[in-house]
């Protein structure tokens, strides 16, 4: 069913997704309140699986922690195979705009290839890069940069 609020929250992090789920709480099959994720829901994916992996500076290789997260993503996506999804690649601000666009694309590609290798059908996924254009954390030190170097698996609301 269409849930336009979730689409609007596409670029935001887990909090925004949780809020839009709360706003949809009175719709059928979406009875969970924020904090009590229904198995197989988008909130379940964000809260219990983890929708994002992080990268080292200027790197596009997955970290061991990132691979562990993607293993869980693959398992969940195999179970709930009605979802299509978009892998968003991002970079921190310490790079030029053009390079970061390409770097974000390469990170998204790393995730895509990993999920395909874990048996997820390539036709369910697309990738997009936002470069350094959509940071989730804004400050000028490593605590923010490390959160912004990420690839986020965003389930399509209408799927």
């Amino acid at each position: 069913m269409p849930m336009p609020l979730i689409r609007a929250a596409k670029f935001a992090g887990a909090i925004a997704v949780a809020l839009s789920m709360a706003a949809c709480a009175n719709t059928p099959n979406q009875t969970g309140l924020a904090g009590a994720a229904v198995p197989g829901s988008q909130q379940d994916f964000v809260v219990n699986v983890g929708d994002r992996v992080f990268f080292e500076t200027d790197q596009t290789d997955l970290t061991p922690q990132g691979r562990a997260t993607l293993d869980k993503q693959a398992q969940w996506l195999a179970q709930y195979n009605r979802y299509t999804f978009t892998i968003e690649g991002h970079a921190d601000e310490r790079g030029t705009r053009e390079y970061n666009i390409a770097l974000g694309a390469k990170r998204a590609q790393s995730v895509r290839e990993y999920l395909i290798a874990r048996g997820i059908d390539a036709s369910r996924m697309r990738t997009i890069s936002y470069g350094k254009e959509r940071p989730v954390a804004v400050c000028d030190d490593i605590s923010c940069w490390s959160q912004n170097r990420r690839a986020v698996t965003v389930l399509n609301a209408s799927s």
Partner: protein, 454 residues
């Protein structure tokens, strides 16, 4: 006469050489023909500019001239010449002679006494047909000669351009280089929080006036670049599907996607003849360079590497392309022939080099350099020699050249600041100036001269 009756797409501007008529001419010792070397000349040596003292009394109001226009045009000229760093306009309060007739010969000793080397006088009148008539004369104070003089007839709407064109003529006559004041800048206007930034394409005069927005902010837009004709820009836009390179006609608002590529295209730039757009295409994890002919729509692959090749920029003669690539590890600047083939790395310093942009003069390439967490704007010769840093700090990015190759514009997003601003810096690394914009601004691209006639 070669200058008369030039028609431009947006503005009709008639220009005519201004010579003193017989009565006044007899009073001058010499009437400098155009092209003769002025004895008064701004001296520019590497890293050291002696700003030339120049007197610019308010232009006179001729018949029909209304209100503040003559004074406002004078202020535009004064402001342009001041910001160039090459001129030091003298405070009007110091002037000894009050100019009452822009066609008579000034009292040169009065201007010598206040150490003026050049004197610019002018007059703005309104013709019966409603157009304005602007005339000026530039005098060499020490030799008592007229260096140049012209008049323009144009619509009153163009009054700011009149100021810029006169600024360019003064600049050219006194420095030997063409000016860059009758130009515009396309840039990205930024509003909203960093997490939810709204970006709009905008265009303004080089001095920050006449800002106009070209997109409304629904779609994320990046890296606009001018065509040589100045009527079109190419840029990257997000929207439905893959982000892509677009063309936008800034007069008609007509927009089209460049090419039909199977993936994201980004980092576009026109060829010097305006017939092609060079850009990056993402294929899987790699990004390579492609060029599309805008007439035939034919596309050609220029690089084929398992790396990120991006930020291509043509040499002014169109024969070569500089770009950045991380094929050797970190990003470095490479140069290759415009039709592809082997690329030669030209940057070898510490750190990463990116966003190379070839100077309109052809003799140097501007870049962004990252080193130990700092972001510098610098220049390097196309053969890799002569690297020089113009400005550095956190975080400078994205140089673009004034059409005369003397000034570099870039954007700066300082640590802790809520958003970026646009700056200019002289090729010597001196005279850094912030360009006024209504909001935060990034990704500037400088147009060619609007009034370029040759």
């Amino acid at each position: 006469m070669s200058h008369a009756d030039r028609t431009e797409a947006a503005t009709a501007l008639t220009r005519r050489r201004l010579m003193l008529t017989s009565a006044a001419a007899t009073a001058t010792t010499a009437l400098m023909p155009r092209g003769a070397l002025a004895t008064v000349q701004v001296q520019i040596t590497q890293g050291n500019v002696q700003a030339m003292p120049i007197a610019i009394p308010d232009f006179l109001a001729g018949p029909g001239a209304e209100g503040d226009m003559p004074r406002n045009i004078t202020q535009i000229i004064t402001s342009n010449l001041t910001r160039s760093g090459l001129f030091a306009p003298i405070d009007q309060a110091a002037y000894l002679e009050k100019i009452t007739n822009s066609d008579s010969v000034p009292r040169f000793p009065d201007w010598q006494a206040i150490k003026a080397q050049a004197l610019l006088v002018g007059k703005i009148a309104r013709q019966p047909d409603g157009r304005i008539n602007a005339q000026f004369r530039l005098w060499d104070v020490y030799n008592g000669t007229q260096l140049t003089g012209q008049q323009f007839v144009t619509s009153p709407d163009n009054w700011r351009r009149v100021g810029h064109i006169i600024s360019d003529m003064v600049y050219e006559r006194l420095t030997g280089d063409k000016g860059y004041f009758d130009t515009r800048v396309v840039f990205v206007d930024e509003t909203g929080t960093k997490e939810q930034r709204i970006k709009r394409l905008a265009i303004m005069d080089q001095d920050g006036a006449n800002v106009r927005y070209l997109t409304r902010g629904q779609d994320l837009v990046l890296t606009p670049r001018f065509s040589p004709s100045t009527q079109e820009i190419t840029y990257m836009s997000f929207g439905q599907g893959d982000p892509r390179v677009y063309l936008l006609n800034i007069e008609t608002g007509q927009r089209e996607i460049v090419g039909n590529f199977p993936g994201m295209t980004f980092s576009p730039r026109f060829s010097p003849d305006g017939q092609r757009v060079i850009m990056s295409l993402q294929q899987g994890g790699n990004s390579n360079l492609f060029v599309m002919d805008l007439r035939s729509k034919a596309t050609t692959r220029l690089t084929d590497t398992a790396a990120i090749d991006t930020a291509p920029s043509y040499s002014p003669d169109g024969s070569r392309v500089c770009f950045e690539s991380d094929r050797g590890g970190r990003q470095q600047i490479y140069v290759m022939n415009a039709n592809g083939g082997p690329a030669q790395r030209i940057s070898f310093g510490d750190g990463a080099y990116s966003t190379p942009v070839w100077s309109p003069r052809g003799d140097t390439i501007a870049f962004t350099k990252q080193f130990e967490g700092r972001f510098a704007i610098g220049v390097i010769n196309p053969d890799g020699s002569g690297e020089r840093i113009l400005t550095e700090g956190f975080h400078n990015e994205g140089p673009t050249w004034a059409p005369n190759g003397r000034v570099v514009m870039f954007f700066r997003d300082p640590a802790g600041a809520p958003g970026p601003s646009i700056y200019t810096v002289d090729l010597t690394g001196r005279n850094e100036q912030r360009v006024p914009t209504p909001g935060y601004a990034s990704d500037p691209a400088w147009s060619p001269l609007l009034s370029a006639s040759s």
